[in-house]
Symmetry: none
Amino acid sequence: METLSRKQREISDRERQILALARPILVHEGYQALSMDRLAAQMEYAKGTLYNHFPNKEEIVAALAIESLELRRKMFERASLLSPISRHRMMAIGCACDLYTQECAEHFAVEQMLRNSVIWQKSSEKRQVLIQQCEMRAMSVVAGVVRDAVAAGDLTVPEHMSAEELVFGFWSLTYGSHALIASSPSLSEVGVNDPVRSIRYHGWTLMNGYQWKPFISFDETESLMHQLGERIFGDEPN
Amino acid sequence: METLSRKQREISDRERQILALARPILVHEGYQALSMDRLAAQMEYAKGTLYNHFPNKEEIVAALAIESLELRRKMFERASLLSPISRHRMMAIGCACDLYTQECAEHFAVEQMLRNSVIWQKSSEKRQVLIQQCEMRAMSVVAGVVRDAVAAGDLTVPEHMSAEELVFGFWSLTYGSHALIASSPSLSEVGVNDPVRSIRYHGWTLMNGYQWKPFISFDETESLMHQLGERIFGDEPN
Amino acid sequence: METLSRKQREISDRERQILALARPILVHEGYQALSMDRLAAQMEYAKGTLYNHFPNKEEIVAALAIESLELRRKMFERASLLSPISRHRMMAIGCACDLYTQECAEHFAVEQMLRNSVIWQKSSEKRQVLIQQCEMRAMSVVAGVVRDAVAAGDLTVPEHMSAEELVFGFWSLTYGSHALIASSPSLSEVGVNDPVRSIRYHGWTLMNGYQWKPFISFDETESLMHQLGERIFGDEPN
Amino acid sequence: METLSRKQREISDRERQILALARPILVHEGYQALSMDRLAAQMEYAKGTLYNHFPNKEEIVAALAIESLELRRKMFERASLLSPISRHRMMAIGCACDLYTQECAEHFAVEQMLRNSVIWQKSSEKRQVLIQQCEMRAMSVVAGVVRDAVAAGDLTVPEHMSAEELVFGFWSLTYGSHALIASSPSLSEVGVNDPVRSIRYHGWTLMNGYQWKPFISFDETESLMHQLGERIFGDEPN
DNA sequence: CATGAATGAGCCTTCATTCAT
DNA sequence: TATGAATGAAGGCTCATTCAT
């Protein structure tokens, strides 16, 4: 019993080791730079061993993407449970986004890489389905918050707009800003000095635009988000 | 003189021909699919000739990116001149974004590709500077509109926020939405049925959030943007 | 004693099972397609177990070849005993050849594969000796028929020719035709419509050329061979 | 003019060099042993250069096979023209077979290798057609001799047998004997001491069996074939 | 004995880049 | 300047064989 489970643990450990080695290469040097040869060399295992764990390169990338999406989903779920007040819950999710892209920058980068069609197409259908499911679950968490807000009378979703489409606005704002931060070689040279704070301000303004209650000042928002942020990474979630 | 300039014209023509052939490959099949062999074959020139024009593959990609950024800058400039009213000018720029990503999808795709660090790093410093200049000029066009709005009393930029940071909000919203539209395999399956319209609504709401005057209803916005859109591609600009 | 012999039986059973699984792969998909991984997976035993039975891949092929040669030898022996008349005995052996290549096509294919020098050289010397013995025993059966024919006055072997060399003629004719039938992609397109019948006619003509008595017409030959054929696969031989 | 044709000559030379290096490997060590790496190393050219000449490994094998089949066809054509007498023409072709398999043993071996279905299937369709055409032309040369013999009253083809089927007998006899000679590890140990001479005797006997006129003794046949043989490799044919 | 993870040489193929003509 | 053959490192992947458990 013991021996078997030890072996299984070793295998699972190695799988995680492969992914841990692959992630920074993928993130900092791109898909092409991630080669099985190089990975094997870094692992100090033979190339064939790699192939005992993953049938091909694409599966490694897909596995990384799933890890990342899962992490984000969990963070969203935790964040959405941190308060009974709908606007605070939405803010907590925004906070989770910030944390995810900043503290888990490599996860965010992998997620973005997956949005490259070539890699997406090469991954196995099984993984594609898993990835879509991850996205849908994350979306439904946030849309759930919106629906709860509507039910509680905190928010009115404009006519002809679904809860998901309202979420899409915040998603675009957040995703776009983080993508630009990560990729624009010199945001500050262009005159954007504190992009993260400014995007929080835009998010707050957008909420105000939708008259999401209860209204709170930006300063209150900032301190609240700070508190929420500290509670997102807590004890082991899910 | 004449002979030389004819030769120069020929060279420049060929350069444009190379880029025109490279763009669709790059966009639809990815960076890896763009090979010098293939390009040379399609051009009906020898591979060596290619290398007389571009010292390496990355330079071709960078040149394409510059073309694309230039186009966007021109569209922004045209858009910003279509009205004397600051809010309308901002809307026109939003409209230019929509058009750019939709009608010039290949340009947008190349722009995104450049945000991949590997290609960016491999391109020559000269091109890197050119690219940054493009971005800065585009930004200054939009920031100029914001400043004009402030000067005209149409808008108050919050304390501690630069005009550029205010622009960054709209940029993030627009860029983020278009990036998600282009890459999310199934936005509609997640419940986002008309992402383009909904993002226009979010933009309108954000403007309202900033109390950008003169206030106009969303329906008015829609019809105005439609009119502006038709004037962006006009006679040859710049 | 009992336990041991049961174990031995189990081992021998598994060996046969391996060969039974390997043969169709080898025959229909070629030497390269036969991989130890695949074999082990089909057996539902581990790869290592395979290596307890056969020290390497070539030995498996050689073992298959021996099985096939043994089968052919047994068929020759049975055939040679079906009649007291020498010419009829020779015909019965020809008939055995036809049956072997047609009904036991997979055996014939393996036999041919062994004629590939690479496999032959890699197999163990022990197997090589076994294979040679098989061939010699088969030859001596046929040569025995020739010698009996000479002794009975039915046949005169030309001067300077051994009984084996006479056999070699019939062997070449039969082997060559079957090899060509098995491998020529389109014998009928070349104008050879009924190769099997025509080769029986050539064999009959060759016998006539050697004035092998008693002379019988081709039609008689055909019906006689038909009868003999049915008796070759009878009750378990040898 | 001169320069161009020199380059072309060099290229064509290298192509021949590749084939010349590949043939013995293919013949003596088999299809698997022929690797592009090894070929390149022996050529003292880079691997990439190989691929400028042949798009893949299979094409090299197919090119070799076509060379071999072409050679045989030419030998058959020359042989068939060496005499006005039909039986002598047939004998000359038999002689060509002997020479082909003995003097051009590597060509014969490649031809046999092609009869391996795996290789056959992998080669390009264009080559497959070429190969079939080669076979058909060779067959029609020999069948032509048979038809001429019939027309001249030298031979009667049995009822229900086509000229091609009659040829098939001689083809099987010759092909089979040479295949066995090439592959049977120890023909002499089995008692076949002079397989080539004995097969000539069988061929002569088969001709007698068909009463192919004019009858000549085996000794005459032997000396005639010797003379014919010397004339097959003459001045550059076709 | 059975297991199956680990090995690593080897395979075929691609392609950006160079350079003699 | 134009050419395109030559280069050779690198890539993804396979598989017979070994050996610690």
